[in-house]
């Protein structure tokens, strides 16, 4: 994951700027305190046993006012900078403009829904030419959507809609994660934002909507239905998600499984079929009794979902 202060959007840039200012102020204040402490420790250290007491000084109104007023002016300045940055960064709560993208947090995966009906887990595609107004929701507990290189973080609160601007100034893959503790697998609720030039974004969206499921007729597909997989998972990118488990459309072309917990290799995928709790302890997927043959067929089926 890229760090928060290698910004790739105007708002992330603005936050990095404010942070640099705060860091500079903090460094100056700390150096002043450090100098005062070190100087008085060295200069006024008692040497040997002295019976005389130093001059008793009880205070100085002038100095006390000084170190009240100067910090007051500093925080006033900081407050002005803060409000200006907030206005620049924050997406409006209520506008007539419908969201370009709806992002939903689940225990423990993310899902993005586009206006044309395409639903994708994990990898969220955006164009680089414009900013998207993204609505952030939660399906269960409170999550927090955080792609540090691109945008401020924002809580996904059940029963509430929150909005952010999602944008990237250069094409690339930007990682993000859930940033509010949300239960057993909070650690593995990572995602990626794939920013690409306009044409390829539009092409991706159309392609996705067409449905690219490789029909492998017969046993595997029947197994997927009869063994209960399809109760939670869909394999069609345009089918509304059940909310219980992530869509498996294009599963084979993903780089990671389980929100980043493992790479997408046949062995790791097989672990989800044999023992989902070993693959990601605490996740909501039950154990499904399958014969070795059935597991093999299902694996082949899943690996065909490109």
């Amino acid at each position: 994951m890229g760090p928060p202060f290698s910004p790739h959007s105007p708002q992330a840039q603005a936050i990095a700027g404010v942070f640099s200012l705060v860091l500079a102020i903090a460094a100056v204040v700390f150096l002043v305190v450090l100098a005062g402490v070190v100087y008085s420790s060295v200069r006024y250290r008692s040497r040997g046993i002295t019976t005389t007491e130093p001059k008793q000084i009880f205070g100085s109104r002038k100095l006390e006012v000084l170190w009240t007023v100067v910090p007051l002016l500093m925080v006033t300045g900081l407050f002005i900078v803060t409000v200006r940055a907030m206005i620049f960064i924050d997406a409006p709560q209520e506008t007539s403009r419908p969201p370009d993208l709806v992002i939903t947090g689940h225990q423990w995966w993310w899902e993005a829904r586009y206006p044309n009906g395409v639903v994708v887990p994990w990898d969220i595609h955006i164009p680089t030419s414009r900013r998207l107004r993204a609505r952030i929701e939660s399906a269960d507990v409170i999550h927090d959507f955080w792609a540090p290189e691109l945008a401020r973080k924002i809580d996904a609160v059940p029963g509430r809609w929150s909005y952010i601007w999602l944008e990237a100034d250069t094409p690339g893959s930007y990682t993000g994660t859930c940033s509010e503790f949300c239960g057993a697998q909070h650690a593995w609720m990572r995602f990626r934002v794939i920013a690409e030039p306009d044409q390829s974004f539009e092409a991706w969206l159309v392609d996705e909507a067409k449905g690219t499921v490789d029909k492998v007729p017969g046993l595997p597909e029947r197994l997927f239905r009869d063994k209960g997989c399809s109760k939670c998972h869909t394999v069609f990118a345009t089918e509304p998600s059940s909310g219980k488990g992530p869509s498996l459309a294009h599963l084979a072309s993903r780089e990671f499984l389980g929100g980043g917990i493992s790479r997408n290799t046949p062995e790791n995928l097989m672990l989800w079929l044999t023992d989902p709790q070993a693959a990601k302890p605490g996740n909501r997927m039950p154990n499904t009794p399958l014969t070795a043959e059935e597991r093999g067929a299902l694996l082949m089926y899943l690996e065909s979902l490109r």
């Binding site: 928060p4 936050i15 420790s41 008692s46 130093p54 205070g59 503790f181 057993a184």
Partner: protein, 529 residues
């Protein structure tokens, strides 16, 4: 034994508070070490995610409710009557009841381990994660019930301290003359009385949701998850000052004595404490900046949160000015106090960063926050407490702590603490979120976490050395006498340890430093115009 169980003397109850805090401190420290071990390298599997979540939940709850609050209450209950020239607390039996409520609250919380399901929703237990639907185990019920008991105990001891300071002061000791530790304990106690009921109310709502199918926090039934956050942080942010202000009070006693000068600007230090108390009730939403709550609303809380830096900074400068021009004796107590000044400043400054809303929008819930709170609560409160223990141990026990062991433990604790927590600033800046049981192998993550774990181990070693010093000095320490530091406040006029009746005669108080007046009749403080 029975005499301790039935104790109502403020000194015994004070010691009981401190010992129970030490016991839970060791438990909370072990939980921290389990976490640091699991985080020592990426993708470790020493413990399951569920156990990890129990560890950080219990660590946070323990350190706040079973360590910081009780130990500070213990110092208050022990020292306040002595410092104001009283023989007893105003309400001795309430004192005993408050302690045992607090202690058995802690036992109840730890009993949840025996059920196999300790609470695991964090010390903040955000709804709806803490609701039955997402946390079906009984751990959360233990957590809420235990905290209700602890809240009742805390309110009881706070009322007791307020009543004592209001009614038991020695003749002549007006509120303008009480020691700053007493001032800050008073302000803290008033804050407890106003803040803890908000916690109790939210706990009752949570228990109603969990046990009676109420729907306070369930959005599908018209409840509001954010209601929990508002209630919790209306309690939770004043709570931060509740566990910091008495530590400020200790520093305000220790630095003057070892600098041989009175506190610089007593009225400003006392007033700034009251200012912090007022402001602390108007800053709670800075824990919720990442929730989309509306820009103007957030701006108000940002302003209040930044403002609180002003009275806090005033104190730091007052302490430095007290050292300035003094004749400083670097005892172990003073070393801890000076380290406190620097570490607390780091924690205070990173706090200003979080008051700056856009910075919070990136850094909240990362390791930058973990570094911040530990610089405030460990580098701040705990260092002040260690200074306080080294300073008042002779009064408590009649014996001196060993200075050589004290210095060793000081340097180990400074080294361990800063190694463990300074690097966590960088982890936060690199994007490592907090409350994760493991993390991917990203550049620097493994190395910085390993450094942090090594630092934590050094810190543990220093703390154990400190405990050993206490145990040994209790039996073999040199005899302290009544006033080993040549100090100025009334507790040093009593014997060490003080008799059951602290003062045979009510002490004479004509200034803020009654013992200075006694020792320097020709330049007594009350003679100043």
């Amino acid at each position: 034994m029975t005499s301790w169980l039935c104790a109502i003397d403020h000194k015994r109850i004070g010691i009981l508070y401190m010992l129970s805090a030490l016991l839970f401190f060791l438990a909370g420290g072990m939980e921290a070490m389990v976490m640091r071990a699991q985080l020592a390298a990426p993708n470790l599997k020493l413990i399951t995610p569920e156990i990890y979540n129990q560890m950080f939940t219990m660590h946070g709850t323990t350190m706040i409710f079973l360590v910081a609050m009780p130990v500070l209450t213990g110092f208050g209950v022990y020292l306040v009557p002595l410092m104001i020239g009283a023989n007893e607390m105003a309400l001795p039996r309430l004192g005993a009841l408050s302690f045992w409520l607090q202690f058995f609250g802690g036992i109840l919380l730890y009993f949840s381990f025996a059920t196999g399901a300790a609470p695991s929703a964090g010390w903040f237990s955000y709804a709806p994660l803490s609701e039955k639907a997402f946390s079906p185990g009984v751990g959360l019920d233990y957590w809420a019930l235990a905290l209700l008991m602890i809240a009742a105990g805390s309110i009881g001891s706070a009322i007791n301290l307020i009543a004592t300071i209001a009614t038991e002061r020695a003749p002549g000791m007006t509120m303008r003359l009480v020691p700053l530790f007493v001032w800050m304990t008073l302000v803290t106690s008033i804050m407890i009385v106003f803040a803890l009921p908000a916690l109790a109310a939210s706990l009752v709502m949570l228990l109603s949701d969990r046990m009676l199918q109420a729907r306070f926090f369930d959005p599908s039934q018209g409840g509001a998850p954010l209601l929990w956050q508002h209630y919790f942080w209306i309690f939770g942010h004043p709570e931060v000052y509740i566990v910091v202000l008495p530590a400020f009070g200790m520093i305000s006693e220790i630095i003057p004595v070892f600098s041989r000068k009175p506190i610089f600007g007593y009225p400003f230090v006392a007033t700034s404490t009251v200012a912090i108390a007022f402001l602390s009730y108007g800053v709670w939403v800075h824990h919720m900046f990442a929730v989309a709550l509306g820009r103007n609303f957030l701006a108000v809380f940002a302003a209040a949160s930044m403002l609180i830096a002003v009275p806090t900074g005033m104190k730091i400068f007052s302490w430095i000015a007290t050292m300035w021009g003094g004749s400083i004796r670097f005892t172990t107590a003073m070393l801890f106090a000076v380290a406190f000044l620097l570490e607390f400043t780091v924690g205070g400054l990173s706090g200003v960063a979080f008051a700056t809303v856009p910075v919070d929008w990136q850094m909240t819930d990362t390791y930058f926050v973990v570094a911040h709170i530990h610089y405030v609560l460990l580098g701040g409160t705990v260092f002040a407490l260690l200074a306080g223990v080294h300073y008042w141990f002779p009064k408590f026990s009649g014996r001196m702590l060993d200075e050589k062991l004290g210095r060793w433990s000081f340097w180990l604790i400074v080294l361990g603490f800063n190694t463990a927590f300074f690097v966590q600033h960088f982890l936060g800046l690199l994007g490592m979120t907090r409350r994760v049981y493991t993390y991917p192998n990203l550049p620097w993550f493994g190395a910085l976490n390993l450094i942090s774990t090594i630092g934590a181990a050094i810190l543990v070693f220093g703390i154990l050395l400190f405990c050993a010093n206490i145990a040994m000095s209790l039996f073999f320490g040199s005899v302290a006498g009544d006033d080993p530091w040549n100090a100025w406040t009334l507790e040093w006029a009593a014997s060490s340890p003080p008799a059951l009746q602290n003062f045979a005669h009510p002490p004479e108080v004509r200034s803020r430093r009654p013992l200075w007046d006694r020792k320097h009749p020709e330049t007594a403080d009350w003679m100043r115009v």
